[in-house]
Subunit: 313 residues, 2 copies
Amino acid sequence: MNEISSKVLKGDSRSIARLITLSENNDPKAKMIMKDIHPYTGNAHVIGITGVMGSGKSTLISELSRAYREQGKTIGIIAIDPTSPFSGGALLGDRIRMMELTMDKGVFIRSLGTRGMLGGLASSVYDVVEIFDASGKDIIFVETVGVGQAEVDIIKIADTTLVIIVPGLGDSIQTLKAGIMEIADIYVVNKADRDGVEQTVAEVQSLVDIVCSDKERKTPIIQTISKESKGITELINEIEKHKNFLIETKELQKNRRVRYESELVEIIRKRLMNLIFDESKFKDKVELLINKISQKEIDPYSAADEIIGKILK
Amino acid sequence: MNEISSKVLKGDSRSIARLITLSENNDPKAKMIMKDIHPYTGNAHVIGITGVMGSGKSTLISELSRAYREQGKTIGIIAIDPTSPFSGGALLGDRIRMMELTMDKGVFIRSLGTRGMLGGLASSVYDVVEIFDASGKDIIFVETVGVGQAEVDIIKIADTTLVIIVPGLGDSIQTLKAGIMEIADIYVVNKADRDGVEQTVAEVQSLVDIVCSDKERKTPIIQTISKESKGITELINEIEKHKNFLIETKELQKNRRVRYESELVEIIRKRLMNLIFDESKFKDKVELLINKISQKEIDPYSAADEIIGKILK
């Protein structure tokens, strides 16, 4: 076994950081180490957290982390959000709150860019989840922002997905209606000291009543004021309950299978697209075809046929 | 030439709708028709519009469309945003404003879902742009929402990208700082009757000063109050100026080349991933490997190697 592999398995922070960087740079070494550590994964509970900007996701993660740390659990935090305080996009107050976490050796924070040219959820997120998991982290938070695919993709990675809503942002409810309501395992109405919290909770509840009408488990709604640490204990209890539900119903295994499938899709996509668009073997041919498309000498579909014909058996 | 092809080229709405549906369903007929119409594309001006929820993108598109219609131009609108009024996510007031547009035969509106399981910007967006273009639409609007990849990907499709900002949403400026500032060809400070508009304009201006310090063209900032149709004429003038700039500097050709490259990437990605994950030839093998990954008998990277080895020459 590679030296980095065994250090990562022992939870060594520097080796974890090193391996994440190797993975982000598509270094061939990363692939080898990822193979080494795969058998040691599957123990961490992955919690996805999503919600619009300003909903207080990062502060909530800080509070949850503090509570989990008091239980002696270790934490990994992955922020896939350029505006997250974890990604350096913080206001001063937030930064101070984060400081405590960043000083704690039981907490590892990593922010990841959104995906590059060739599509997909920040592709290294799967690797980072595996790395944190293998390194013995008990809880892994994955933070995403926005309405869009990242928000929906998060359920492929997370065991438990929290959707954060804030009173008075009519937007949030619009978003839920628009199709992301199915992804929540727990709704968190954050900033619950704001005006309109009863109405927000009632609106979310009526959505839950519709979506969960034929389901065994009704998505719970927890109110939090994360800046005052209120509701955090209740939220942790609900996460625990959800975890037990997943285990009892064997949903956890299904979830994990979805994650591995999604990871496999991502690895294959990345490899094939790199092969076609980055390697010199095909690059010139591709360039030539794009020129021909521009000059209307060929259409994009026929060009795709030509390229695919060259690489497939 | 296929019958639908020739009808699309004549601008027949029913055939346009039909072809878009065929394309969304990956019908083999669509591919054939797309080949027919490709030589007739390249004339429309594609305007990308992005901004957070509540920034008034759809109302702005309505107002711009009305103004272009008065110039006798025809319009295609593509909404890649589940919360857009164009996608049915409208409040009553918005819906009434849209009504006028939907009744106009010179305007074709289509909303597209965000991408599916296998990644990428809603992949049919490229086809819809080509279809609108070939059918003779002069202006094509592409509306996306959120912080995230869709917002950045839009520049691969658009000739001119408008980034909409609203006073008082500190979020918007944060977003700009976080990396999407490079994508704007024109900044639109919408809802410019709100408090804080001077500060917002000043903040955007200082960002422009930094980003464009060494550029020939400084990104202009236009103030609009789209509900009162204010600033629309100025905005249309700026769009026209940008178009002329693109033509003079030959940037338009470069932009189009990027769009075709991006489209080619998308077609190839879709085909390869469908081949591996949907066709029976590989499906069973893939299922088996995912099971093995779940049981830690193999790691995802080695599984990817096995699959890729089976399909490549």
